[in-house]
């Protein structure tokens, strides 16, 4: 039987922990746990990622950090460095784009590729899989696990089955023998609740689910029953989508310490506006409504928004609105815990109502696009607004 579609699921192995081990060679071979502070944080928070060395000692991601600490007090505990992981993630996604134009990132360290049209360029499926793994390793020094199958759901299960550093190819005829012995919770979308309900019906493996009458499943689960019936057979027609339609773009920043310094608040706002504007430009969008989110020390949270007369994706425009929205909180008597900036009512960058200032705006856009390119190539810090350095400077002044 030939492959109707060839879907690859790429999943990085213990991504955050591996990046940390890569950047701290002395941590390699040791248990590394990325997550909340197990001591200072009074045990609040969870494990974001655990290296394989830590996993062997029983630490799992999403486990409360206090529990991890009980099991593995000697591990290296490290706070997540989101910007660093995002940098690696971008590199990985760029590598994946070399193999197919159809790449759907589903999280920071996971993506689907539809390689139906490009697999012949790489010889066999095995060669393609090895080439992807090798390129990721070359570009980042990290290992990935791959699953290759005729559908998204099977590919995802296959990548998981081979971890770490795995490559598993499940052909159309092998789908059934591959799935049957696996527990039902391996199916994408089957969580604790569905697992319980299926177990009540005497269903524990995917094979048992497959043998169950479709009519009963539907009766018990409604439409979801139909989906389960299909997933148990490896049937999953969902396409690899380049990008979901974006409804809004936003960024938030939580201060390490609640912040009352107006200059630092504005500098943070500028940084958030840069990020939001840059993402809008990346997706060739402009937004019409600017939203400012503010959370105070007591967790009271406010959203304020303003709709512009014409949509924008320029940092300068968004920042100006945000500063005026922030001004509404000038009288607030408590420090700020979190700031967020978002744009909604997004429209394509090209087309639509033209403006008399298009020439002038185009110049600004070109400049900001140039900064995007520099930052993409050399990192965020290559070129920044001087104002955004203020927080660092003030902190330094305070300590010195």
């Amino acid at each position: 039987m030939s492959w109707p579609r060839v879907i690859v699921h790429v999943d990085m192995d213990a991504f955050f922990a591996s990046v940390e081990q890569l950047c701290h060679p002395e941590w390699r071979g040791k248990p590394v746990i990325v997550g909340a502070d197990p001591r200072g944080g009074k045990g609040r928070g969870v494990v974001a990622a655990a290296s394989y060395e830590a996993r062997r000692l029983g630490v799992r991601s999403a486990m409360p950090i206090s529990q991890a600490y009980k099991r593995c007090p000697e591990a290296i505990y490290v706070r997540p460095n989101g910007a660093l992981y995002a940098d690696y993630s971008r590199t990985i996604m760029r590598v994946l784009a070399e193999f197919s134009p159809l790449v759907q990132p589903i999280s920071i360290d996971e993506a689907f590729l539809d390689v139906t049209g490009s697999v012949h360029l790489f010889g066999s499926l095995l060669q393609l899989g090895q080439a992807i793994k090798q390129r990721i390793r070359q570009a980042t020094g990290l290992t990935a696990s791959l699953g290759i199958a005729p559908s998204k759901s099977v590919a995802k299960i296959a990548s998981d089955a081979g971890k770490p550093d795995g490559l598993l190819i499940v052909g159309p005829q092998e789908v059934q023998t591959f799935l049957d012995p696996l527990p039902v919770e391996r199916l994408w979308g089957v969580g604790e609740k569905t697992r319980q309900r299926l177990r009540d019906l005497g269903i524990q493996t995917i094979g048992q689910l497959r043998d169950y009458p479709a009519a009963v499943l539907r009766q018990k689960f409604g439409k979801w029953g139909d989906v389960l019936w299909q997933l148990a057979r490896g049937m999953d027609e969902r396409p690899v989508q380049m990008e979901e339609e974006i409804k809004s773009i936003s960024h938030e920043h939580t201060f390490e310490k609640d912040q009352a310094d107006a200059e630092i608040l504005e500098a943070t706002l500028l940084k958030l506006c840069e990020k939001v504007a840059s993402r809008l430009r990346k997706h060739q969008l402009r937004g019409k409504t600017v939203q400012l989110k503010i959370r105070f020390a007591d967790f009271s949270t406010f959203n304020r928004n303003k709709t512009l007369s014409s949509p924008t994706n320029l940092t300068e425009d968004i920042y100006r609105v945000c500063v005026s929205l922030l001004g509404e909180f000038r009288e607030a008597s408590q420090p700020v815990r979190l700031l967020g900036v978002g744009l909604t009512h997004l429209v394509p960058e090209k087309g639509g109502q033209l403006s008399l200032w298009d020439v002038e705006n185009q110049r600004k856009l070109t400049l900001e696009q140039l900064i995007d390119q520099l930052q993409e190539r050399y990192g965020q810090s290559i070129l920044v607004h001087a104002q955004t350095l203020l927080e660092k400077k003030k902190n330094k002044d305070r300590t010195s």
Partner: protein
């Protein structure tokens, strides 16, 4: 302070100032109307600090003085009275009694010392205009102003005057309106000022009859002296955009059509346009213009054809119907001419047959059409 006056007289004066009272303001004093009685004349003043309006009326003043009283309450009381003589009497404790043949109404007022003073404009430049000229300058431009706080200079009408001519310009970046009026009687030093949207709207309401107004401009304020009313407005002191730069110099095509026909057709066709883009497409051929709108999401569409004279072969251009209608509403001649360069360039619209000393043009940016 004590004076008597006919209800209609004071109500009319109150109407001119009461709307300036801000809905919300941290300055509670601004909720008041300042009443001042001098010998033989009474004035009412309201202010939101940006705009101050003073209305003068004749009254029988028995005792001079002044008081600040809650403006909306005063207005509500006077509104409910028929046209009878009304007596206003305030004491040193700033309590005011209004007496009519029906009874007495007592208001707690305030010491007017805290009321914002009108700006002094002794040093300003002066210009005298007929009310109808000023009215037209405002009316046919103000619709194009912007409310976008990102561009404060566009939140008003930009006036430029020199001896013999005055013009007004407004733009929001999508359209621009300009009206120019030449008259040898206009005597002034060269003058440039942006008057806020809110101020021109108040001013327009006071520009009645065929009288004249005297405007005095300083760096930051303008005063407009009308027959019984004086308005002070804080100017927008930003630099106005270089509007001349965006007026296309070389015109490629010209369309002449009946203003009322285009307006009526646009109004009907626009009902079928996509509510977000409000797009109406004009397909112009040598002897007719076809207007078309459709809403792909809901499946509705409309087409109308009206006669025109066009200098090109065929030209396709799309506009936001709201902008198109705004423009048409302010063309007061039976015919208009629209001038085009390219479907993605500003289009120009002018009335046909204006008197020689008048110029009016509107610039309209199109909507970019998806090229098939």
């Amino acid at each position: 302070m004590k004076f008597s006056i006919a209800r209609d007289t004071i109500y009319e004066a109150l109407q001119k100032v009461v709307n300036v009272i801000p809905q919300r303001s941290p300055l509670l004093m601004l909720q008041n109307v300042l009443i001042r009685a001098d010998d033989q004349s009474v004035s009412l003043t309201a202010s939101d600090t940006e705009i101050t309006i003073v209305s003068q009326i004749e009254g029988e003043v028995e005792r001079t003085g002044s008081i600040a009283v809650p403006g909306r309450l005063l207005n509500d009381v006077i509104r409910e009275l028929p046209n009878v003589p009304v007596t206003f009497d305030s004491n040193e404790a700033f309590r005011m009694t209004i007496t009519t043949e029906f009874g007495e109404y007592r208001l707690a007022g305030e010491d007017p010392v805290g009321f914002p003073r009108s700006p002094e404009l002794a040093e300003g430049q002066e210009i005298v205009l007929n009310n109808d000229v000023m009215k037209r300058l405002i009316e046919d431009t103000a619709f194009a102003t912007s409310t976008d706080e990102l561009r404060p200079s566009l939140n008003g009408v930009y006036f430029e005057a020199q001896p013999g001519a005055i013009q007004a310009v407004a733009t929001d970046g999508h359209r621009m309106a300009l009206v120019r009026y030449a008259d040898e009687a206009i005597q002034c030093e060269p003058l440039k000022a942006i008057i806020s949207n809110r101020a021109v709207n108040f001013l327009m309401r006071s520009l009645e009859g065929d009288g004249q107004l005297k405007a005095v401009f300083s760096d930051r304020h303008a005063a407009f002296h009308l027959d019984h009313t004086t308005m002070y407005a804080r100017l927008i002191t930003e630099q106005f955009v270089d509007y001349r730069r965006v007026i296309p110099e070389e015109i490629k095509y010209e369309m002449v059509a009946d203003t009322a026909q285009v307006y009526a057709a646009t109004k009907r066709v626009a009902l079928f346009s996509n509510p977000i883009t409000a797009q109406v497409v004009l397909r112009i051929s040598p002897d007719a213009v076809e207007l078309h709108a459709e809403d792909v999401d809901f499946g509705g569409s409309a087409t109308e054809k009206i006669p025109c004279q066009f200098s090109g072969d065929e030209f396709l251009v799309a506009f936001n119907s709201k902008y198109l209608l705004d423009m048409l509403k302010h063309i007061h001649t039976p015919q208009l001419v629209m001038q085009f360069v390219r479907p993605d360039y500003a289009a120009l619209a002018r009335p046909v047959g204006l008197p020689e000393n008048e110029e009016q043009l509107t610039l309209l940016m199109p909507i970019r059409l998806e090229t098939p």
